[in-house]
């Protein structure tokens, strides 16, 4: 009973602790301890889920479908582990938060609130509860994105808020209509009802609302404009956290909903998902190559990678979904890591603009290696994690006969490689531009433990995911098989 709730309870405990204990000396240690415990419990959950199948519990003692179910299937467990890993990395990285004494306590408080919302969204088995966790996550992300209140942040923050609020209102409207049609909110019960029902036309209207809502969160093709307009405004610690976790919660919800509920009209949905996936990949990739600011290149690049995740879902074979999940897990780690390294470049050079930085290869070869690992993983160079993720996706695409979109996916890899090589050439290989040397002298900065540890940790995981790719693939394959057979999910929740 107890372990299923730990992903929510641990962040909640540390949230309260950060409210009570405000001594600057302790808060960092407390946050790192909290995220380590969270990681340990997530790994424990993953081991248990892989051994015994889906873990379920109900809140408040009401049996499903009346109480709020907590359901952890292999996909939730995998997402929990990877997001806790990112949480650990960020909690160390945040020790160098600018003007730490003023903002660090607030940062950690909302950091743990955000994690609580994210983990809640991963493990809930009730659609209204999912909406509530989305709101918890959104409200804390609003605070984090405007923390510091610079003019720039207010600009980005208002755009971010506007579009995300509309997204959650659409989500709520979808839930209302869905409840009106089916009379239940429990995911397993809903899935059971929809399986024995052929009114796909009525269901498609709420499916469309959900698609738009999750599409806004995940930043897919026609709905992504808020992301590059806001992700470069907050402090890089906050950007890396958002880049690694937030959009992927949208992808998680999309995979969950489109495997569990909206399976009656697969032709309509798969076609649409393919088109959206293709446009998302290409538009994001092209916009990324046009930018000269590291954070903007990386932000547009998030969008491009989201396309691959939707592509995996759209193929809709066990292999395709396994590839999509593998890709998402790899991307969460590698993407956060590139943002962290971009932050380190900024700390050493005082700028995010590629025209103003350079010569870092000579000065810090370790940093160069730390950038190269996630960058090559994102571009899909063997033997790193991204290569295997892409191979699985491409194999699934060809096997399923989706030739056009698969070729697009392969070609988009070149755009990724181009934008990564651009950062590499500009920041590491070329020498420091003369005009900006003065700025650099003033900013003499040596990288310390808090700077390097998170990047080293995530780079190690990227390499390990490549080396042990077959084991990771087995895990994701198991997750995909559970997703393709909703009966197992329904049985374990409804207790039959």
């Amino acid at each position: 009973m107890a372990i299923e709730l730990t992903p929510i309870l641990i962040p909640m405990l540390f949230m309260v602790l950060h409210l009570v204990i405000r001594k600057y000396r302790y808060i960092g240690i407390m946050a790192i301890a909290g995220s380590t415990i969270l990681l340990a419990s997530s790994i424990l959950i993953l081991v248990r889920v892989m051994k015994t199948g889906i873990l379920t519990t109900v809140a408040g003692g009401w049996d499903a479908p009346f109480g709020i179910s907590i359901v952890i299937d292999p996909m939730s467990a995998l997402f929990l582990v990877i997001s806790s890993l990112i949480v650990l990395a960020i909690s160390v990285y945040a020790l160098r938060f600018p003007e730490g004494k003023i903002y660090l306590p607030k940062f950690y408080f909302f950091f743990f609130t955000l994690i609580m919302g994210v983990n809640g969204a991963f493990i809930t088995g009730d659609i209204f509860n999912l909406y509530v966790w989305f709101e918890v996550m959104l409200l804390s992300s609003f605070v984090l994105i405007t923390l510091g209140f610079s003019k720039e942040q207010l600009k980005g923050g208002i755009k971010y808020m506007a579009i995300n609020l509309i997204g959650s209102l659409l989500f709520l409207a979808g839930i209302g209509l869905f409840y009106g049609k089916t009379g239940t909110l429990n995911m397993a019960h809903l899935s059971e009802i929809l399986m024995n029902d052929d009114q796909s036309l009525l269901i498609n209207s709420s499916a469309m609302l959900f698609f738009l809502a999750f599409g806004i969160k995940a930043a897919i093709f026609p709905l992504y404009f808020w992301l590059p307009a806001s992700y470069h405004t907050p402090d890089i610690t906050v950007s890396s956290l958002f880049a690694g976790i937030l959009t992927k919660v949208g992808i998680y919800a999309m995979i969950r909903f489109f495997t569990l509920f909206f399976v009656q009209d697969p032709l309509f949905w798969n076609e649409q998902l393919f088109i959206v996936a293709g446009f998302t990949m290409v538009m994001g990739g092209m916009a990324a190559s046009a930018q000269y600011e590291t954070r903007k290149i990386l932000s547009y690049h998030i969008i491009s990678q989201i396309g691959y995740m939707v592509f995996g879902l759209a193929i809709f074979t066990p292999l395709g979904i396994a590839g999509g999940i593998f890709f998402t897990l790899h991307n969460m780690i590698a993407k956060t890591n590139t943002f962290l390294v971009a932050g380190l470049i900024n700390r050493m050079r005082g700028s995010f603009d590629l025209k103003e930085v350079g010569g870092l290869f000579k000065e810090s070869p370790l940093l160069a290696v730390l950038f190269m690992i996630p960058a090559l993983a994102l571009a899909g160079i063997p033997p790193l994690s991204g290569f295997f993720a892409k191979v699985i996706l491409i194999k699934a695409g060809f096997e399923n006969g989706n030739y056009v979109i698969t070729v697009i996916a392969i070609l988009t890899g070149l755009l990724t490689l181009y934008s990564m090589i651009k950062i590499w050439n500009e920041a590491f290989l070329k020498s420091q531009p003369e005009a900006y040397k003065v700025k650099r002298e003033k900013q003499a900065y040596t990288l310390g433990f808090a700077d390097l540890f998170p990047a080293v940790l995530l780079a190690t995981v990227t390499v390990l995911m490549g080396v042990f790719a077959s084991d990771v693939f087995e895990l994701t394959m198991k997750a995909a098989e559970y997703l393709m057979h909703p009966e197992i999910y329904i049985e374990s929740v409804m207790g039959r």
Binding site: F128, V132, K155, A162, I166, G176
Partner: protein, 115 residues
């Protein structure tokens, strides 16, 4: 009654979208209030309106029209509280924005994309 409520929801959505598209931040906040109330009404309405009946079953079971469904009311209650929190936060941001820029105009935000 359902028809009237449906029309009201439609009007609220229209007004909300119109307000969102204005330049003033205050109007944007009012737009969000309209939209969230429209959505709350929609959730309430979609479960069916049953007037003059208690929320819980008195004695006879099985007759679904004999009582009003309590769940949408609970959902709307939660959504209203969340909406209130969001509006308060938006107002705080608006205040902060005003003291930073001395203006209520969203066009002051324009150059984020190309800066």
């Amino acid at each position: 009654m359902e028809i009237l409520m449906a029309i009201l929801v439609g009007i609220l959505y229209t007004a909300g979208v119109y307000m969102l598209l204005r330049r003033s931040i205050l109007k944007f906040i009012i737009g969000i209030i309209f939209l969230s109330n429209a959505t709350n009404l929609l959730v309430f309405l979609s479960a069916g309106l049953i007037a003059g009946k208690p929320v819980f079953l008195g004695g006879e079971e099985g007759d679904s029209v004999a009582y009003a469904d309590p769940l949408p009311q609970a959902l709307v209650l939660t959504a209203v509280v969340i909406g209130l929190g969001i509006v308060v936060y938006l107002l705080a941001i608006k205040y902060r924005f005003f003291s930073e820029t001395g203006s209520d105009d969203l066009d002051q935000l324009k150059p984020t994309e190309s800066e």
